[in-house]
């Protein structure tokens, strides 16, 4: 039985997604996207798609977070809306 784990992780995914678009601080958004990707990675792993989970962990949670942080570092940290 892995459904409870599934549902808990899915709840975290939704929390991270909603938080990422509602937070004013763009650096926090970048980190929340990293957390979102990591939760998605757990979901893929639970579903047995290990290759996709690996890609999500390295690309989504790893490199793209760094790219976002780098972009925030060079632009502004506050969003206007």
């Amino acid at each position: 039985m892995h459904w409870p784990i599934d549902l808990i992780v899915l709840t975290f995914v939704i929390f991270c997604a909603v938080a990422a678009i509602s937070v004013k601080d763009l650096l926090a958004t970048a980190i929340l996207f990293g957390a979102y990707s990591f939760m998605m990675c757990l979901l893929w792993a639970v579903m047995g798609a290990v290759d996709v989970a690996f890609t999500e962990a390295s690309v989504g949670a790893g490199v793209s977070t760094v790219f976002f942080v780098a972009a925030v570092f060079r632009t502004s940290r506050r969003t206007k809306d």
Partner: protein, 274 residues
């Protein structure tokens, strides 16, 4: 306006959720995806390609053409970052720090370049002394990360992973070097030209392996026709072909990741970064 947007998003989400109700169950053996092609891959892939990891077999062999253009997309992403952001204009002023005394020199003449080394070091306007603990830990970690990345590329046939993941991990080890030391350390180890050449070389390796198959009498990316060129057990030729293209993908992705990071973080000036 915001309220209308919210309503539209909610409606679209409800429609999508309604649509997913019609999907076959997760892992349903009677679903359309599982009756035609999947059976062939699951039953025949190991026999035909000698590769235990079905995902790699499908990605790099059966759907090799698709993966080739994915690599090209990553290459194009790196190229676009370079073309949009790269700034070749010369810097007007430079800052140097005398290591022994901590005195900071402000050089306004753009032609005067001090030699950095033991006595002077480069300084940027938002310069912070790099932390000894972070530097040491990263110096220890980076070789292991790189070995792991090479393992992921080389072992893609047998375990999860492959060129994309390995390339991204190798690229992030380069980025870690740039973050823990500074951008100049990375650029003095890996030149910008080298990165550009590697990004193109990776795609070239992939396309080259595919193209060699054609004069040998096969279709594009038909690895079986490479048997006369490769010594060893002819049964493993498709696995070897996959390894070759995975290496190409790994090289291209590594270089593209590093190019994207360097150009974003320094606004294309390649001097100072995070």
């Amino acid at each position: 306006m915001k309220f209308i947007g919210f309503v539209i998003v909610c409606l679209t989400g409800a429609l999508l959720l309604y649509g997913t109700g019609e999907f076959p169950d997760w892992g349903d053996p009677a679903s359309p995806a599982s009756i035609h092609l999947s059976n062939h891959y699951i039953e025949k892939a190991l026999e035909e390609t000698q590769v235990p990891n079905l995902v790699t077999a499908v990605l790099a062999d059966y759907r090799g053409f698709d993966t080739m253009f994915e690599t090209a997309v990553v290459f194009c992403a790196g190229l676009a970052c370079f073309l949009l952001l790269r700034d070749f204009s010369r810097k007007k002023e430079r800052f140097y720090r005398h290591t022994a005394t901590g005195v900071i020199l402000h050089v306004k003449d753009s032609k005067k370049v001090l030699k950095t080394g033991k006595e002077f070091e480069h300084m940027d306007k938002d310069w912070v002394p790099s932390d000894l603990i972070i530097k040491t830990i990263c110096r220890i970690l980076i070789p292991f990360i790189q070995i792991y990345a090479l393992y992921v590329v080389a072992h893609g046939d047998f375990s999860p992973g492959g060129g994309f993941q390995g390339g991204v991990i190798f690229g992030s080890s380069l980025i870690l070097l740039a973050i823990s030391y500074d951008l100049k350390t990375l650029l003095s180890r890996v030149k910008e030209k080298v990165l550009g050449i590697f990004a193109a070389l990776g795609v070239l390796i992939y396309v080259g392996i595919g193209a060699i198959c054609m004069p040998m009498g096969g279709n594009f990316l038909d690895y079986v026709k490479l048997v006369p060129l490769v010594p060893g057990d002819p049964h493993h030729i498709r696995a070897l072909g996959m390894l070759g293209v995975e290496i190409g993908v790994g090289i291209a992705v590594t270089a593209a990741m590093a190019v994207i990071y360097i150009n974003i973080v320094s606004e294309g000036r390649h001097d100072e970064g995070l």
